[in-house]
Symmetry: none
């Protein structure tokens, strides 16, 4: 198995505030190509330590990937130090310079002179275009070692790796096929998921299963390897089938889709539309649904009725109902869902009201209490839920629950 | 300033799913003692790489802190490799062995034989008791370097550091006061910020300034050290004052507040209210405003008018205007802001319409084009902006811009 080493560069990565998420993402990608990550280094804008890290890496690793330090400022030292260690000159690339100027011109801004530093490239290196930013990446072969320099911002680094680096590394690895499958789950705790799934996945040495807990959702990553693609698929099918049996309805995707994509596909396939009336989630359900490009096909409108006044006036919730039951109550959630459905003339209407905290809780209605209603032309169902955690986590779980309710209703 | 290096040990730290949060926590603690973290290494259960990492660290750093690899199993190699590099014997400590046996006995379990390995300690090392687990830590002085081995689980590592290590390091540092200040900026690119700020902050060796780019916002972290708190404050005031002169209006907080908190405080202080009408941001402006607990004091309602139909019906945007200018246009943004303000009867109304992409762009109206309008009872201003990046980044910048527009109007 080929081994790789990741070097994250930049003093901000040595503050208490910044997690090196790039290296996690890269590790996932490298593993999926059948490459092992053996070491990670985080180094600041410190020339001698970076130089040492690169020298050590060159001696012991077959692949070196650095992230960051390709910006335009003085303390972006990646280019300079790699060139020094690899004993290569940096030359100004006119084509990149021109592209940089055009990029700034498009936004009606003059290019700051320091940005021209980003057009410096190493002799003999392959230049990697940056679709989402100014700093180009570089790749160079040094003896047996493939050296890659990527920019730090994830939205620049990721497409560059996928488009330019992954194909090259895949060729180096040869014909071992690594296939992965991702099962996405909502509605179970992490420990309950493991209790159900472990007796199944522990029977398999190949595929390997990893569990990830993220924003209230759970992901099972299955990785199979084989000489032939069909064999790896078969291994995944077998484990996948057994996991389906124990986790069934909680699995919302078996192929790396987000919950909002799954819901969007279900709505579009049937020609259904949806609208939202939100209180405690403050627009985040609408925001999540519209994260999917093309969501205007099925998302019509949303109302964030934060005040009682707006629940009454826009959504037609009866004032007497709010007085009798309170704004956070089952009948109000129901009336919100039905109100917005009528207003938007959509197939479905979602209504959410709850107490996200930290203030506003009572014995009877504690922080974390959320009512979620889903209305269509024949029925309105309401779920009463009590979520744990802080304001942000409660809102996140409420958004997920609302989407999952739609998924279950349609499918 | 003393410098430290952190080594995280354990193969699980090299999977895609595990963030090295220990090093963030340690960095915060070390910084607050006035100690700089210059390098972090993550290494697996790999003897030769760990040995190399320790040797490099001993040569260049004044403090080495390792976490993990002190468990009872074969692949817990920290003890062995540190002993090898430091040329010290490991000896069985009867007292620790006894404590381990008692610990297991209390839980009515026999101690697995492999656990006795945890009673092996380095000659000459200070033993650090573990209140919450079985593995003791160790601290040893090697020449000018303080070497510390801590267990990996945070609830074992943290009290051990605070109780046994922090007092020792504090003594090494002397009685230095470290104060921090955070300036938060929106509306400038990273390179433009640095162009303006670098001539100022580079004049100062103390405070030290770090620049961080995050979700379209920029943070300047200022860290000052002095013998007395008042002196550190004075240093921060001086640098802060000079940064104010060059960055002025772009600074939205000088004390670690979010943009939505700043806007919320401004609204509340004046008894103003606000409402939102969003198209391309799909509810995220409302979602951001309501992230602040207590935002119901000033946020009244939001409309996510994704369809033209809803812009016309709820917000009263004239159909003829949409036909003439298109849904993404200056007059429509203006009409949305004025419409929602009237609907909600709020002090301010925000209107946003744009093209978040990836589809839907034209030559005349490219992806990234966003109109943001802000209406009050005397005027409505509209800004035309062209944002770079993908769908998510365009939406994030649009949300920030809308909030910043409100901040600038009020302050």
């Amino acid at each position: 198995m080929l081994n790789a080493e990741i070097i994250a560069i930049g003093s901000e990565m040595l503050t208490p505030f910044r997690v090196d998420t790039n290296s996690l993402w890269l590790t996932e990608r490298l593993n999926s190509l059948g490459i092992d990550v053996k070491l990670k280094t985080v180094v600041g804008d410190d020339e001698s330590r970076l130089e040492e890290a690169i020298r050590d890496a060159l001696r012991r690793s077959e692949i070196i990937i650095s992230t960051g330090g390709l910006g335009p400022t003085e303390d972006d030292i990646t280019r300079k130090i790699f060139a020094r260690v690899l004993k290569r000159h940096l030359v100004l690339n006119d084509e990149i310079l021109e592209r940089l100027r055009t990029r700034f011109a498009r936004r009606n801004m003059p290019m700051p002179e320091i940005n021209s530093r980003q057009a410096l490239v190493m002799e003999g290196a392959e230049i990697l275009a940056n679709r989402n930013g100014t700093a180009p990446g570089m790749m160079i072969q040094e003896g047996k070692c493939t050296v890659v320099m990527l920019p730090g911002p994830p939205r620049e680094m990721r497409p560059m790796f996928d488009e330019a680096i992954a194909p090259v590394l895949k060729q180096r690895v040869g014909d071992l096929v690594i296939l992965r499958r991702k099962f996405s789950i909502f509605g179970l705790t992490e420990s309950r998921t493991d209790e159900l799934a472990a007796p199944v996945y522990l029977k398999f040495k190949n595929p390997v299963t990893t569990i990830l807990f993220k924003d209230g959702q759970i992901e099972l990553h299955l990785t199979a390897q084989a000489r032939k693609s069909a064999d790896a698929e078969k291994l995944l099918d077998e484990l996948g089938g057994q996991l389906d049996e124990v986790l069934g309805e909680y699995i919302f995707s078996r192929r790396d889709e987000t919950l909002e994509e799954v819901v969007g596909d279900l709505l579009r396939a049937r020609g259904y539309t949806i609208s939202t009336a939100e209180s405690c989630t403050g627009g985040l359900v609408a925001g999540k649904i519209t994260e999917v490009s093309g969501s205007s096909d099925y998302f019509l409108e949303g109302v964030v009725s934060y005040s009682n006044e707006s629940k009454i006036r826009i959504l037609g919730v009866p004032e007497a109902m709010i007085i009798e039951h309170g704004a956070v109550s089952e009948p109000v959630a129901k009336a919100m869902a039905e109100g917005v459905r009528k207003l938007a003339n959509s197939t479905y209407g979602i209504g959410i009201t709850g107490i996200a905290g930290p203030g506003g809780g009572t014995e009877e209605k504690p922080v974390g209490l959320v009512y979620i209603a889903l209305a269509d032309d024949t029925q309105t169902t309401v779920r009463k839920l009590i979520f744990p955690g802080d304001r942000q986590f409660i809102r996140t779980l409420a958004v997920n629950s609302a989407l999952d309710l739609v998924r279950r209703r349609i499918s």
